[in-house]
């Protein structure tokens, strides 16, 4: 049977066909849909973890018990999971273990552009890289076989264009005859004390040599001989661009990008006149090929930043592309928080109070956009709280009061909780706002340990954030309604003035949460055109439902609310001094 699947759907299918028992992940674009699709296979125990390190550790446990397991994350998630990954490389596996990492060249939805292939090399584990959805499925199955054959975790690297690209996949039958999981005691292999680890390191080095040898003949690395004038070494989505731009060139398509099959590359190089490496981001393959003494061109021509496209590849090698029309500049269309988003009132207030806001990763990062302009830093998940804790240590008492950290519920549970522990412990006098919208919104509404639901959609324990913060040692924890601007402002002012760490938790769910609405449907607001003076106060919250309509003479105008977009949060009404905003008739 054939189906059109995205790379992420195909990885999920591959996990099912491979007989995976346990899957764990933290959502992160572009990797999120893998678990969301795995959940359709009832044979697999799939769950969200609070962060990527925990997700990998859950998979490690399942593997040690003899079950095949998979952990999925985006590139920056591997930074969080790196600690267990490196030691897992030493212990090896029980049941096969695959770590899927989805990179985001061009940073469509990420804070940096790191190339995860470096992690495979750093942790000394093999990495496979599929070039379309069929390979996503096939390589996932293969990764489990390699994992068990070589006693190693295997990384499977995707990128945005593979994860979210769709192509046709031939479905297969699930694997049979896998061993039943059971407890096996083997402390010499699984307890990584120095004495045991020293024994395992040579094993890891030898394993890499064996894997490179495997890659020399395995079908996962494929030579396609065509014209021998030009030979191209490539992998992943870059392979597709190469086929598009250089249809006649000979190609060595690598399915295993680490360790590299250097003998195979050398052999291929000897058969072609000119050799180039085409790869996105780092010169990962190129540097190793050069170090092996093979002369090759690559990053002199191909940019190190951003994703590759057929056009960029053409430009790199001076191949003329199709002529393009030019268009005049238009106003940009950046993403924006939704109409009725519960975060909007908080950022509006922070802006009014001239707070210095240390931000974090999530929908609310958009609070930095005009007209809210209420975010001053954003580094990585959890860093809002720790950087607030750090910055107050260098400021005067007056300036200290301005520092406010904002963090979402999911991000708080991801790593923010550790940061808050530090803040409480060291008594850093900053204010933390936990924007609790009861969901991981940015990646598409995934549940988390505070939402009360599991990935399987079963109701479960919900973390009590007030009690948690209190238990960490924060003495001043309060809950506010972020749609009530006066209440929000009063709470913020009071806590910012307090020379002690404090936490404000907002209590309105994301407008996209299906289980509970912020408001009843149908409560749409409108602007009474007779009362609107054109003061523009309501525009300051930047709600996409409110539009400024200039008057025909170009002098004054009036605000207008789009009834199809308004979610009735009532925040704009509180801003209008002339009572021009009210419930629509």
């Amino acid at each position: 049977m054939k189906e059109i699947l995205s790379g992420n759907e195909a990885i999920a299918r591959g996990a099912f066909e491979a007989g995976v028992k346990v899957a764990s992940a933290y959502p992160g674009t572009p990797s999120t849909e893998i678990l969301e699709n795995i959940v359709n296979y009832k044979e697999i125990d799939a769950s969200w973890a609070p962060n990527e390190k925990v997700a990998l550790e859950v998979a490690i446990g399942a593997s040690f018990g003899g079950g095949r397991s998979i952990a999925c994350m985006k590139h920056v998630g591997v930074n969080v999971a790196a600690d267990p990954l490196f030691t897992l490389s030493y212990t090896g596996v029980g049941g096969g273990l695959v770590l899927v990492v989805a990179d985001d060249p061009e940073m469509h939805s990420s804070q940096d552009e790191q190339d995860s292939r470096n992690y495979a090399r750093f942790a000394k584990v093999p990495m496979l890289e599929p070039a379309d959805s069929q390979e996503c499925k096939d390589f996932t199955r293969l990764a489990f076989e390699i994992s068990e054959q070589f006693d190693t975790p295997v990384m499977l690297r995707s990128c945005t264009r593979i994860s979210h690209g769709k192509s046709i996949v031939e479905l297969g039958e699930p694997a049979t005859g896998l061993p039943t999981p059971k407890l096996v005691k083997n402390p010499a292999k699984l307890v990584m004390l120095p004495g045991n680890a020293r024994v395992r390191h040579p094993f890891v080095e030898e394993r890499l040599l064996k894997l490179a040898d495997y890659g020399r003949t395995a079908a996962v690395n494929r030579v396609e001989m065509r014209d021998t004038e030009l030979g191209i070494v490539t992998a992943g989505v870059s392979y597709q661009y190469v086929r598009e731009v250089f249809p006649n060139a000979s190609v060595l398509k690598l399915g295993m990008v680490y360790p590299l099959p250097m003998d195979l590359i050398r052999e291929f190089a000897s058969k072609v006149t000119k050799l180039i490496v085409v790869e996105e981001l780092d010169a990962f393959i190129e540097d190793q090929v050069k170090a092996a003494g093979i002369s090759v061109t690559g990053k002199e021509a191909i940019p190190l930043c951003g994703e590759l496209t057929p056009g960029r590849l053409r430009a790199a090698f001076g191949i003329p592309g199709a002529p393009q029309v030019t268009v005049e500049n238009l106003p940009g269309r950046p993403p924006n928080m939704c109409p009725g988003c519960p975060h909007r009132g908080v950022f509006f207030t922070l802006n009014q109070l001239k707070a210095y806001v240390t931000g974090d990763i999530g929908c609310y990062t958009l609070g930095f956009m005009p007209p809210l302009n209420a975010m001053d830093t954003c580094v990585c998940m959890g860093a809002s709280i720790s950087s607030a804790s750090g910055i107050v240590r260098v400021l005067s008492d007056e300036e200290k009061k301005k520092v406010v950290a904002v963090i979402g519920d999911s991000t708080f549970l991801h790593t923010g909780v550790n940061s808050l522990m530090e803040m409480a412990y060291n008594k850093a006098p900053a204010t933390v706002v936990i924007l609790d919208n009861r969901i991981t919104a940015m990646t598409g509404r995934q549940d988390n340990p505070a939402s009360g639901w599991t990935l399987m959609d079963d109701s479960t324990n919900a973390v009590d954030l007030v009690q948690l913060c209190t238990a960490l040692g924060i003495r001043h924890v309060r809950v506010v309604d972020p749609l009530d601007l006066d209440q929000t402002r009063a709470a913020l002012q009071e806590e910012m003035n307090r020379p002690e760490p404090s936490v404000i938790i907002t209590n309105r769910p994301c407008v996209l949460v299906k289980r509970e609405g912020v408001f009843q449907k149908g409560l749409v607001l409108s602007v009474d055109q007779d009362h609107c003076t054109g003061c523009k106060a309501c525009l300051k919250i930047g709600c996409p439902a409110i539009e400024w309509i200039p008057a025909p003479d170009g002098k004054k105008g009036k605000a207008k609310i789009d009834p199809l977009l308004c979610n009735g949060c009532d925040v704009c009404r509180q801003l209008c001094k002339f009572n021009a905003i009210g419930r629509a008739q």
Binding site: K2, I4, I168, V327, G542
Partner: protein, 192 residues
């Protein structure tokens, strides 16, 4: 089957249902026996930002994204976004767009204006430009939200895909209770 690849771009604003429309297209091409690839961006851009989805079909498709300047058909869900992505089209390509304006933040705030001559600007570059009153026709079909399917019908007219493939694709991708309205919307678009 010839070796040519047909490149289709669907553009608009996050949240307009571009994903579903490109999914129906891809399904129809697969059912018609072609190789298909499709690509778009999720995450941040879904929150009301500018989005573009690439669908390519033919005997064998490599790149999942349409090479710059090689688009055959641009399928616009919103006027400003339609104009923005014209450089992806080849000369003489086809443009079909919904007559809909959605203001971006700078326009909402009164700092920029939404150009009112976009249909003319598009027509100047692509004379065969087809402007569709999607909202209106969708209402006629029974639901304003089926404007996407009206456009899909209008695009289907330009493509040589057997009718039954379109119908089967609609059946597979559209939820059962919305199917009748969508079928009707598709026909209205096709009849344009």
């Amino acid at each position: 089957m010839s070796d040519t690849i047909t490149n289709i771009l669907l553009v608009g604003v996050g949240g307009q249902g571009i994903l579903l429309a490109s999914e129906i297209l891809s399904e129809a091409f697969m059912l018609a026996g072609f190789d298909v690839k499709k690509s778009e961006i999720h995450g941040m851009s879904q929150r009301g930002g500018s989005v573009v989805s690439h669908v390519r079909y033919g005997k064998e498709v490599h790149s999942p994204i349409v090479p710059e300047g090689e688009g055959d058909i641009l399928f616009g869900f919103e006027l400003m976004e339609t104009y923005r992505y014209l450089p992806l089209l080849r000369k003489g390509g086809t443009v079909v767009a919904n007559d809909l304006r959605i203001s971006p933040p700078s326009v909402l705030l009164g700092q920029a204006s939404y150009p009112d001559d976009l249909p003319d600007r598009i027509r100047a570059l692509f004379p065969d430009f087809l402007l569709v009153d999607g909202q209106h026709l969708a209402a006629e079909a029974g639901n304003v939200r089926a404007a996407n399917t009206v456009l899909l019908g209008a695009v289907a007219k330009q493509l040589d895909i057997p009718d039954e493939c379109w119908h089967k694709a609609l059946e597979r991708m559209v939820p059962p209770k919305a199917l009748d309205v969508n079928r009707k919307a598709f026909q209205l678009g096709r009849a344009l």
